[in-house]
């Protein structure tokens, strides 16, 4: 933390911003997977991040997979060609999409040409990220119970002209048919702005 604070004074560069956002996705996805019980809770371990205790997976395969995705994201974020990251949670049995976590990314493409770092303290960004992660945790208050075993999928929306890299494939949006959507907080590094949202299956409420 102290190290990060020391870097604060330097402001935000494009590369730094991409790193921060990618890191957020890494922890955010981990949090979702834990909170929603996609993987058994025993396979998670606690770490301190953003001034919170977060749970990250210890499963090597999952870790590996997530790292790959995050690395890829970092690259795209740096290039400012990524628009959206979606975590789709669907039932293993019938592939029905039950939850959809959507992170919209607004890239300030003018930052590409800039050399001077933007002025925003790391602490301020961390505070914002923290509130987003907290909200993810708090969603249990309204999200329906996931009764069946679920799997997750990651969708990344990029600019159109991007060639699909190896290990990635094109996919549909995987929307939920009858869904309730709740906007969560957003955060910005001044270069990348991330708006979060969760959509879930609507029950036949009155």
């Amino acid at each position: 933390m102290a190290k990060q604070l020391g870097r604060d004074q330097q402001g935000i560069t494009l590369r730094g911003s991409a790193e921060i956002v990618a890191e957020f996705f890494s922890y955010g996805i981990n949090s979702i997977l834990y909170q929603r019980g996609i993987y058994p809770p025993e396979t998670f371990t606690r770490i301190q991040k953003y001034g919170l205790t977060l749970l990250v997976t210890t499963d090597p395969e999952l870790k590996n997979y997530l790292n790959n995705v995050v690395e890829q994201m970092k690259e795209w974020l740096y290039k400012c060609i990524v628009q959206r990251l979606v975590v789709v949670i669907s039932s293993i049995e019938n592939n029905e999409v039950l939850e959809r976590w959507q992170f919209d990314i607004e890239c300030d493409k003018t930052a590409k040409g800039e050399s001077a770092p933007r002025e925003k303290s790391q602490k301020a960004i961390q505070d914002e990220i923290r509130s987003v992660i907290r909200q993810i945790t708090a969603t249990v208050t309204f999200l329906p119970l996931l009764e069946t075993a679920c799997a997750f999928d990651l969708l990344i929306y990029t600019d159109k002209d991007l060639a699909v890299p190896e290990k990635w494939e094109e996919s549909g949006p995987q929307f939920i048919a009858n869904s309730e959507e709740v906007r969560l907080r957003s955060f910005t590094t001044t270069i990348h702005k991330v708006n979060s949202m969760v959509a879930y299956k609507k029950d036949s409420f009155p």
């Binding site: 001034g51 049995e93 933007r118 002025e119 925003k120 301020a124 505070d127 914002e128 907290r134 909200q135 708090a138 249990v140 208050t141 309204f142 999200l143 329906p144 119970l145 009764e147 069946t148 075993a149 309730e180 959507e181 709740v182 906007r183 969560l184 907080r185 957003s186 955060f187 910005t188 001044t190 879930y200 299956k201 609507k202 029950d203 409420f205 009155p206």
Partner: protein, 1104 residues
């Protein structure tokens, strides 16, 4: 820049933060929550939303009570779901447990729901409120509720699993699979997951603590943190707090830890743990789940914040113990709670629960100690062996969670009815609209055609038009009449179709609105008159030819539809304005006197009787044995019966709509002459006046003056005012009709009260035979009267009748020859046909009544109807009634000229035989009258015309037909006037003997007995009866012994005078039969001689 970002952050916070701020107050729901509802519920600091929630709740509550569909579960389902969503923090305020309990009770034993997933859900949710859900599940299982649904087994197994009873949980799954519970795949997948979980846990347990596997394996396998676990110290020597650890902390725990295994009573019988082996799961040693009958009631749940019932004085808590808790120093935590940097900004999370909502004093449930499940079961048993019958709609009062008052229920029923009514009305209006629309279109087409015709016509006959049209404009006709006039030209061309259409169109038509507005709105009127005038001019000039559309441009549809009320009243206005036209027709007349809409009485039938019974007891059909004073209708009817000078019951004889319409059509040719229109205008003015008067006082004055003045003025032009007044009240006041009727009734009641207090003879006489009274009784005129072929409604006033003058009744002219008697109100004449001037023994009796009430005629018809075959020559078999505006004449045909009075006066002494004959008939007549529940009220020798038996020398030997009675001036129809009990108001009660014999409590029939006694006495002794009382027995002063048959006469008088309280019909019959016994052949001979003598000595001399 920084500022900008912050702003954004704040913005996003604004729309989202409620749920996050209060996340601790939100109970997670299996099916999730609706964010909007959640936000709303959490933001409900404003009382307005709180009220909205209450309203919604109230709505559900009343829906539960008044649900009429076939799926009551639906209402409960929605109610429960709504409650879950709306009260995220749960707790007392949501009352969810109570709602579930009620729902379960209400839908108890509804077999059709047993396979409904909603019903099962209801039970399962209810199970969460119970102390021991497991008990509930086995109950459901034994009752076969939801046993076909996978959800039951899944939930059941989950709970068992959570408690560590994996074996049992697996059994439950097996049972579900065996039953093929739906959806089976879901059950299977749950089972699979369960198995994986268990095997993994078991493996973990095996790996990590092999030593403990025998003892604590199952407990360790699924660590369950028991909330609010008992933390009290245990042990005597060394106090040790029980440890309840979960997860990683568990590994470090030593052997001594104690698990808080929560087991139900049933589970506690579970034999020692056995390691679950998937492969041997189907082995024979596994006990099969058998549906367990419900044995013992489940243990009561220790609800928080509830004291157990006990004596009040022993419940006091020692003070020092309260303090001791404070003195204990609690250890400082070894960790530092994380405090956010930004935390200072927010001092505290705002309180989300409004304190005002938590009404501490409300909703304390009965039988707190009981388990809900037990309550439900008790309830079931109660209903099974219930013996009491609830005499009010208990189910409605207590259907939901909240108690409804009877008023609320009543209001709801009322609202429902009102709503239905409105809907029906709206539908009717819509239909009408459509119809009108169609007709308008039709008419437009035709008018267009007409218009063309007219133009041609105008060109051909320009002069005629100039004659006809200018007055239209000048006199300021209403538009409609102008239209009619305008259409007249084509009509004169013998092409009347359009006009007829218009006529047909009118009664139901919104077109009339325009006319109605003319009456009501003078500005409009002027405007339209101007239009009309210009239209007329255009017509005259023929330049340019009038656009056919102009006519209908004024029938502004939008304005018509805009205000239905106006359209309605205007419609009626139209009718009332038209009425005068019809009056001019000689054959029709209106009795304009009644000021009460006839509907006022009929309206009673339409009123929903507001009885407590009907609403409160609902289907229980509690019978009331007497008229209910709470019932508005009964009350009003009763008020009718206990009536007083109550104005206006003479019927409106003419069936209005048909009459006005047909009359109008026939009158149409007349409408071309201007004077008639003038008159129409007058009538409109009068109408407006009437309307004003009405507004001032809806209570009609019921004085005689009013009646007479309007009656007398019928022939004059101004009579129209009264006519319109009638129709005004009848049609225009419809919205206030009820009110009007009620105020009239009120007036009537007070009047009757006044009379009851100071009864004087005159007043009462007035009251009993007043025109008002009878008018009221015969309003509307009974169909028997109006439908009779002998009933004639005459226009104009009652013709003047005097002796030796001719009078025209119906189509015949009669010459009045004789006046029997006359008084202020009644006259009785003898007349012969004017064209057969020779005087005969037989002729016509004309009874004239100065009030337009055909009372005698009515009584005669009633007698005919009630006596049927017994209605014979003793009554007027052939009479006609002529009802005039101000009076009534009844013509009796085939009447002998002489009355019994003539005989008594003319003969010094009447022979015994004749007297017996007369008395025999007299008794017979009165017997018949009384049998028909009619009291004559004024029996005297004068009212009895001699019958053929006496007057006709060739009459046969039978003993009947000696008397004929036609006058019923003072008669009472006890079927109509059942409550009348005032015998001393009859004329006879003013006589000395009447005063003596008739007491206040006497029956009305008694009056006629006194009359008989008097007549008999007159015939026997030539003077009126004189009576005295001896040993409380009435006797006559005259010595009967001088007469022949003295035994009989004394007996007759004795019985007749002392018949008070007894039924008169059998008495009269008995006496008559006794006379009959005296008739023998020699009696007949003597009778013939006597009658012959009577004819010679008496009748002949009077002939001359």
């Amino acid at each position: 820049m920084q500022v900008e970002f912050k702003g954004e952050a704040v913005m996003s916070q604004d729309c989202n933060d409620e749920w996050e701020l209060s996340k601790e107050n939100v109970q997670p729901l299996r099916q999730g929550r609706v964010m909007s509802t959640l936000q709303e519920a959490l933001a409900q600091q404003e009382t307005s939303i709180h009220t909205a929630v209450q309203l919604k709740k109230q709505e559900f509550e009343s829906e539960i009570r008044f649900y009429s569909g076939d799926d009551p579960l639906d209402v409960w389902d929605r109610y429960i779901k709504w409650t879950e969503q709306t009260f995220p923090q749960g707790g007392k305020e949501s009352n969810l447990a109570a709602i579930l309990e009620r729902a379960v009770k209400a839908l108890n034993e509804q077999q059709r729901y047993y396979k409904d997933p909603r019903y099962l859900n209801l039970w399962l949710k209810f199970g969460n409120c119970c102390n021991e859900p497991l008990d509930l599940y086995s109950y459901l299982h034994s009752q076969e509720i939801g046993t076909t649904l996978a959800l039951l087994y899944i939930t059941w197994a989950e709970v068992l699993e959570a408690r560590g009873s994996f074996k049992k949980a697996d059994l439950i799954f097996q049972e579900g699979l065996q039953r093929k519970a739906e959806p089976l795949d879901k059950l299977q997948s749950h089972h699979r997951q369960f198995q994986t979980r268990v095997s993994r846990q078991t493996l973990l347990g095996l790996e990590e603590s092999p030593d403990e596997k025998d003892t604590d394996l199952l407990g360790a396998a699924e660590p369950q943190r028991s909330s609010l676990a008992d933390l009290k110290g245990r042990g005597k020597k060394k106090v040790r707090a029980p440890i309840s650890r979960v997860g990683d902390a568990l590994k470090a725990a030593n052997q001594n830890r104690s698990f808080q295994t929560l087991t139900s009573q049933q589970l506690s019988n579970n034999p020692g743990f056995a390691v679950f082996d998937e492969n041997s799961a189907s082995g024979p040693e596994i006990p099969v789940l058998t549906p367990q009958p419900w044995t013992a009631p489940p243990a009561p749940r220790a609800k928080e914040n509830e004291l157990s019932a006990g004596p009040w004085n022993s419940g006091r808590r020692p003070r020092n113990s309260a303090n001791s808790g404070i003195e204990v120093p609690y250890p400082l935590p070894s960790f530092t709670p994380y405090v956010e940097e930004s935390a200072q900004q927010q001092v505290m999370t705002p309180c989300k629960i409004e304190p005002s909502i938590n009404c501490v004093l409300s909703a304390r449930k009965p039988e707190k100690e009981e388990d809900p499940l037990q309550r439900v079961q008790n309830h079931q048993q109660d209903t099974q062996e219930k013996k009491e019958v609830v005499m009010y709609c208990k189910d409605k009062v207590y259907a939901g969670v909240e108690e409804f008052s009877l008023e609320e229920i009543r209001a709801e029923i009322y609202r429902k009815k009102a709503k239905k009514k409105t809907e029906e009305e709206m539908q009717a209006i819509a239909q009408k609209k459509e119809e009108i629309q169609r007709k308008i279109e039709e008419l437009e087409k035709k008018l267009k055609k007409k218009e063309d015709d007219k133009q041609q016509q105008l060109r051909e006959q320009p002069t005629e038009i100039t004659e006809a049209l200018p007055p239209l404009g000048l006199q300021g006709f209403t538009f409609s009449s102008a239209t009619e006039a305008g259409e007249k030209q084509p009509q004169l061309q013998s092409e009347s179709q359009v006009f007829e259409d218009t006529q047909l169109h009118k009664p139901s038509c919104s077109e009339d609105t325009q006319r109605g507005n003319v009456f009501l709105d003078s500005e409009d009127e002027q405007e339209e008159q101007r239009d009309e005038a210009s239209l007329g001019k255009e017509d005259v000039r023929l330049l340019p030819p009038p656009d056919p559309a102009t006519f209908f441009a004024i029938f502004d549809e939008s304005s018509t539809l805009a205000n239905q009320n106006i359209s309605c009243s205007a419609d009626h206005t139209q009718k009332s304005a038209r009425r005068p036209l019809a009056v001019r027709k000689p054959s029709d007349s209106l009795t304009a006197k009644e000021s009460i809409p006839p509907e006022a009485c009929d309206e009673l039938n339409g009123i929903e009787p507001l009885t407590e019974d009907a609403i409160v007891t609902g289907s229980y059909k509690n019978k009331t044995l007497c008229a209910n004073p709470e019932d508005t209708c009964d009350f009003v009817r009763a008020a009718h019966l206990a009536s007083t000078p109550f104005h206006g019951v003479v019927a409106q004889r003419v069936p209005a709509p048909a009459f006005s319409q047909s009359a109008l059509k026939e009158d149409c040719p007349e409408s071309k002459n201007a004077p008639l229109h003038q008159e129409t205008l007058v009538c409109e003015g009068a109408y407006n006046e009437a309307l004003c008067v009405n507004k001032l006082s809806p209570i009609m004055e019921a004085s005689l003056e009013d009646t007479r003045s309007s009656g007398g003025s019928v022939s004059s032009g101004s009579s129209l005012s009264s006519v319109t007044q009638v129709s005004t009240i009848k049609y225009l006041r419809i919205p206030e009709k009820l009110e009007l009727a009620q105020s009239l009734h009120a007036e009537m009641v007070t009047d009757s009260g006044g009379i009851g207090e100071n009864i004087t003879g005159d007043d009462v006489t007035q009251f009993l035979w007043s025109a008002e009274q009878r008018k009221k009784l015969l309003d509307p005129l009974p169909e028997s009267v109006t439908a009779s072929p002998d009933f004639h409604l005459e226009t104009g006033a009652l013709p003047v009748m005097e002796v030796e003058k001719d009078v025209e009744l119906g189509n015949e002219t009669y010459c009045i020859k004789w006046k029997y008697w006359t008084n202020e109100e009644y006259k009785m004449f003898f007349a012969i046909p004017a064209n057969f001037p020779q005087l005969d023994a037989k002729g016509f009796a004309i009874k004239v009544y100065s009030q337009p009430v055909p009372w005698d005629f009515y009584i005669t018809l009633q007698l005919q109807e009630r006596l049927n075959t017994e209605f014979d020559q003793s009554f007027s078999e052939n009479c006609s009634c002529y009802l005039y505006q101000d009076g009534c004449a009844i013509l009796h045909r085939d009447i002998n000229r002489f009355t019994l009075g003539d005989v008594i006066r003319g003969c010094k002494s009447i022979t015994e035989e004749v007297i017996l004959l007369v008395v025999y008939n007299l008794l017979g007549v009165v017997e018949k009258l009384h049998k028909a529940e009619i009291v004559h009220g004024d029996l005297s020798p004068e009212v009895f015309f001699l019958g053929d038996r006496i007057c006709d020398p060739f009459a046969n030997d039978e003993m009947t037909r000696a008397l004929k009675i036609v006058d019923f001036s003072h008669s009472l129809d006890l079927r109509l006037q059942s409550r009348v009990n005032l015998p001393n108001s009859f004329p006879i009660s003013q006589t000395p003997h009447g005063k003596q014999l008739l007491v206040k409590s006497s029956l009305p029939y008694q009056v006629d007995l006194v009359g008989i006694a008097d007549i008999v006495h007159l015939m026997l002794f030539g003077d009126h009866v004189q009576v005295y009382q001896e040993n409380s027995i009435w006797k006559i002063s005259q010595n009967v012994s001088k007469t022949v048959d003295s035994d009989f006469w004394s007996k007759l008088f004795g019985r007749i005078l002392n018949a008070d309280g007894k039924s008169t019909v059998p008495l009269l019959r008995e006496l008559r039969e006794e006379i009959n016994d005296m008739f023998d052949s020699c009696f007949h001979e003597r009778l013939c001689e006597s009658l012959a003598a009577l004819g010679e000595t008496f009748l002949l001399e009077n002939f001359l």
